[in-house]
Symmetry: none
DNA sequence: TATGAATGAGGATTCATTCAT
DNA sequence: TATGAATGAATCCTCATTCAT
């Protein structure tokens, strides 16, 4: 992930006019949210208002576009995320509450990006799938340490392994999010539920505080 | 879910010679593990050793085959799973250990089925995707209650909500499984890791016992 | 059309049990009413309640079945028609009235046969189309002379060519029938119109009587 | 039928290079002369010298192509026909002679179009068949009134219904044309017969003049 | 850079016909 | 005779990618 061989910085598309580039990338994300195979390049160029030829001038293949986009989306979300989170708060459970609120904000700010990243699967055996999974792995390897390495483990009871406790907290945090997220729901469907989400998250937090903290 | 009006029992394919049917269904699962769109009917018939015409004699469309297969796979796994699990053990953490072992067994017994069910996506907005999601939802609605409704909640500390505690346990159980499962790994890759898995699972179990139980 | 090389008499199907044969031929007519290409052998055997193999035992190809059926239907209609018509009446206009009534009767008695014969086109360039057209030509060559050769030409004005007058009458008779027949109408649609038909036919007859007859 | 919202004018194909478009439409007509089902898209593109993809770029389905073609052919024949006919001549029998000559001209000028329009069936119960029939009905409803509404009925004998007389004339005109036209004949087959045709047409005309006119 | 017409291999589905029983 | 499972060539349509301008 060092800057030297970062494919993004050197990608042809970066020399495109910024406005147009945004149109292309947004159109592509929107289309790829259907899944790689279901996405059609024609729809992308139509939505972006550019020609087929130009798309393939900048991205030599559909796969190239997809891979670039995935990396781009992931990087954008990460940098946005870390620019907003307050890493001063070293109580992991309090941080969790913060993360939940931040995630809700980001989903609203970049709904298309989330939809795209979630849908980015491509079917397991495809050649590009490997690269995608590597990107996702890199994402985790990059993000989780930054989020959870510096937490204040002195808050935990002395008779428990802090790393395992952190794991349980993270699994719960993500498990709950996954349970509430349904592929068929739209942003509007979530709106009326936020209060419940926050209340339930607090209940998990309190439970874990009572059990894991001194 | 009762056997009488189970659409599976009445499916044309059930009148096919059992051996051949198994070849077809296995070939189809293997191919669909790539994802719906990536799967090619030609590959299925080649692998199954039957003609294209015969496949479409039994399944009127690719989608029909896919949907049948998904239901079939889910039902088979569920029934196999429940025929092996000991529901007498009402300590949820002990039951978890059992489930882990059972899952490892089943993954070895039916690797293709697991690969298929995991990969079964179809691209978000397809009409059939809705059916798949319904099947998956039905699966959860059917399986989780049977696994976790009758656990002995008297083991939990009196000052915690047992349902939330169960949630945390289930999230941990599944989160750990998901973290260790990688789409790029084959069965052989897991082999040398089982001891570590079991040790780590035990560590989570002990942590939660110490924190959640009286 | 002489008996010696009449393919019908010698056709394999004639050795089939009469009831079953009727089921087959009716089913086939019904299906071929959609047009040759649109007709599906599966539908025929399903409707007839016989096996695919048996159909192809009796008719070596779909084309054979179609051709046999066409000849069969035409012959049946002709013989039925001539068994009912009174050829004593030698006034061509009176005979026309008779023909109209007879045709209405026959359409009601054998709706499927009429539907089939009308639809029997097969697309011009097809190899079988030639044979069909020959059968239709033979039909005309066979029927028209029997219907119109023996009419009483002495009724016509002396200053007109009787053959041309007969032509005009036949053209009118058939043109009117074609104009009223619509491919989208069913038998029921015609029901309430018969009175109008008969009245209009009479008007043409009177017009031609007044103009052509002495 | 007004030009403004004529769907033809707006069809994608109209943006194709005129030469190529003609090749495509001619090839399609030639192929569809076999009937809708017998026509094969491969043959069309081979004959037109374009790729499969291009055909389906302009016509989203085979049916779309067929329907467009039918409307196109009908419209072209009608406009050509009316641009040539002299509607000053209000004697219907004289007009008939004109129509016959005109038709012969048109059949020579556009043999493929005539072949196509005659063969355009599609099999009775298809949804598109309904549209075809509507187009044909519109055609008749459009053409006949323009041809026969303004004829000079004062020429007819006072004791006959002019409308019925016109009907008889039209039926004769069309009946004779249909009798002489055989689906198996090619243009060359007709060549040596024109003199006979014209003579016979004149005979019918004289017969009807003598009988129907004052 | 920018266009969009053109390509053609690839894929799902149909259906007449065969053949072992 | 009778069955119906099995075949596979034929057909419509899709879509990533190229290329002349």
């Amino acid at each position: 992930m060092n800057t030297k061989d970062n494919p993004m910085e050197e990608h042809k598309i970066m020399s495109m006019d910024a406005d147009k580039r945004d149109r292309v990338l947004n159109a592509a994300m929107k289309e790829f949210a259907k899944g790689y195979k279901n996405a059609v390049t024609d729809a992308i160029v139509r939505e972006a208002g550019i020609s087929k030829g130009l798309l393939f001038h900048y991205f030599s293949t559909k796969k190239d576009l997809f891979l670039f986009l995935h990396e781009y989306a992931l990087k954008m979300l990460i940098s946005e995320f870390f620019s907003l989170i307050n890493l001063k708060q070293r109580d992991i459970l309090e941080r969790w509450r913060q993360i939940v609120l931040l995630k809700i904000d980001l989903v609203h700010k970049y709904p298309a990006i989330f939809a795209f990243v979630n849908a980015a699967y491509m079917g397991e055996n495809d050649d590009a799938a490997v690269e995608i999974n590597e990107q996702k792995a890199t994402f985790s390897d990059d993000v989780y340490p930054r989020l959870f390495n510096d937490v204040d483990t002195s808050l935990f009871r002395d008779d428990i392994d802090p790393q395992k406790a952190i794991d349980v907290i993270v699994f719960t945090m993500e498990g709950y999010a996954a349970r509430e997220a349904s592929p068929n729901k739209t942003l509007e469907d979530y709106e009326p539920e936020y209060e419940r989400f926050l209340r339930e998250v607090d209940e998990y937090i309190h439970l874990l505080q009572r059990c894991f903290y001194k």
